[in-house]
Subunit: 425 residues, 2 copies
Amino acid sequence: MDTTRQDCAARDAADALAPHRNAFALPDGVIYLDGNSLGPLPRATAARLREVVEREWGEGLIRSWNSAGWIDAPRRVGAKIARLVGAQANELICADSTSINLFKVLAGALALQAARPRVSTNERRVILTERSNFPTDLYMAQGLADLLGGRHELKLVEFDEVAAAIDERVAVLMLTHVNYRTGAMHDMAALTRRAHDAGALAIWDLAHSAGAVPVDLNAAGADFAVGCGYKYLNGGPGAPAFVFVAERHLAALADRTFAQPLSGWIGHRAPFDFDPDYAPARGIDRFAVGTPSILALAALDCGVETVLAAGIDALRAKSVALTELFIALVEQRCAGLGLALASPRDAQPRGSQVSFAHEHAWPVMQALIARGVIGDFRAPDILRFGFAPLYVRFVDVWDAAEALRDILATRAWDRPEFKQRKTVT
Amino acid sequence: MDTTRQDCAARDAADALAPHRNAFALPDGVIYLDGNSLGPLPRATAARLREVVEREWGEGLIRSWNSAGWIDAPRRVGAKIARLVGAQANELICADSTSINLFKVLAGALALQAARPRVSTNERRVILTERSNFPTDLYMAQGLADLLGGRHELKLVEFDEVAAAIDERVAVLMLTHVNYRTGAMHDMAALTRRAHDAGALAIWDLAHSAGAVPVDLNAAGADFAVGCGYKYLNGGPGAPAFVFVAERHLAALADRTFAQPLSGWIGHRAPFDFDPDYAPARGIDRFAVGTPSILALAALDCGVETVLAAGIDALRAKSVALTELFIALVEQRCAGLGLALASPRDAQPRGSQVSFAHEHAWPVMQALIARGVIGDFRAPDILRFGFAPLYVRFVDVWDAAEALRDILATRAWDRPEFKQRKTVT
């Protein structure tokens, strides 16, 4: 028997995570399926920001670097994120953007590889990644490779070709755990093991994983990782990113002064000695660069707390239920309307999103947004729906599928105002 | 006849800038002489942040990238800073930290130099800077030079030796305009001209200049510049920094894909095309990297407005009057108490700060802070006092000098609680 909206309402009533929706200031009339692009505002954030701005900055002024603990904020918030991704507190710090953090860890990984004794005469020259990796990761690797004088080759393969492409020429395997377009999730432990067996190091981008799916970096043996604060961590637009380096590598990097080449003063062993020579902090602090934004970190802190309060295993269980339901409803109710599932059909290798390809994806998404169902478009033809289980309800899944059905069935998308392109989607 | 506190009060009463102090939420009982480390909270900032958080993020959600103009914020705020430093709006953007921006422009300058036809067989290998430059600038240059394989030499000279050290071996002259310890200001136009005459390019760090002293980058012929948002621009703790590239160089860099090697997606010509290959934006946008912090930019915007509202020429005139008064009062009233002026005695080459060396500078500053006179200490022996004319009054100068006199004359600094070192000063 087909699922009804009443069935969905009953599931919400029985959902232990349902009260967590109240932690967010969601506007009326909106079904928000874009938390994988920008998480919504936690209610606690506005009050916390007022406190940071009016009391800590306004009254404390410069003294708050000590008295309000600002100087420790990147480590303090980092330690919370560490709990979500299977890292130790001393292996993860908040800093800069995901792009810049990727540059740091890729440089670090290449420096470690260059220092290893070679088993053959061949230099490891390959940075192996996926063609459908989020482009900024590819761009940053291209920029670093160019700076290093063209000694490295950025090798792009398809999602399914990664494992087979790991060989003894690979210096670094650099992957995004959950694909931004399709939501397809790599097997982090298996690919990391394979990389290590071939003598390569593994860097994982957790942009669409942290706060969305269980991640255990240390159990997987990951060498380096980076991730984003403004998606499932609900840290606000352009929130600080994070960077993870396995403890064993922090030790190995300690004697290599510029292994992290963005060697700014906040990563110095003693920033307030004002020594003209750089000497890196021995731990994860060396992956910090300039003075961190305290306002942005305060918002990120509140966002991370919303995830910790729910627990990642409960979130994953509900996320799977939501995405399964959406796929089932869309395939039942939108059959013959031109949609093709672009995400894995199996839940296990799927992140917290569902993507469908459609010939008219752009105007269809604009029509959905006009009805308050906010997902997003990814070029060339993807309708992307994120299901953040902290605040998305089963009835939202029903209503979104129903809106999609109606828009496709009535060709409501076929209007000039839905075809005009905007800067950002 | 000696100046009295009444004289100072009379000057405040006649000061056309005095009403601007009301634009700041300054705590009672504090004389804030540390705006060169962290500017105070503008009253407008708290309200603006509430709007950005609660309305733009909370209600607008992802749509605000378009509807609230978030995507243009780095350029929009950058255009305002451009007016303060003699740049065109299309030459300056807010992004990242000062440290990271320095890395970008130094890489860009070296790429431009490498592309120039050589007039002799000698390669230009020298990055010329000052030993007393703010250390992060030195560190970032060291990190980049190491990444480039040791082809470059970072040459450190003293403040007065810079001009004479500019020769045909210099690729890039990299200086901070106003010294962070002493407040000594370089002649930007003269040194840039000398650099150009020798075939070098000039990078200026405006951390202690922007919002404090008149700067005209284009009149000086500056090639590149970076600067800080959280000092005299009052942008909040860890505010985004800015980066300037002269229009002629943006054109020259346009065909050099990785001349700015931190090639992130926000610097791409078409970020939302998600092309796997990096293609830089043609203008200053290519100096952006990852997704910018909208909260931090909103606060910076409010801070910059406080400076624009007063006008930089009026600010400079009052700044000179304040620093002149402080030097005169301290030298009259603290004679024989162990202080030695560490800033230029002439106003013209002095920024908006006054530094004095003292054998017991650390505990003396802690004793001042305990009395509500907030300056800061810079190793090894500097008492640093910033005089931001937007909110510092002539009576504040009097009271600060008087507190200093009393603390030194009574040895009030000689107490255990003032000798304990903290992380940040």
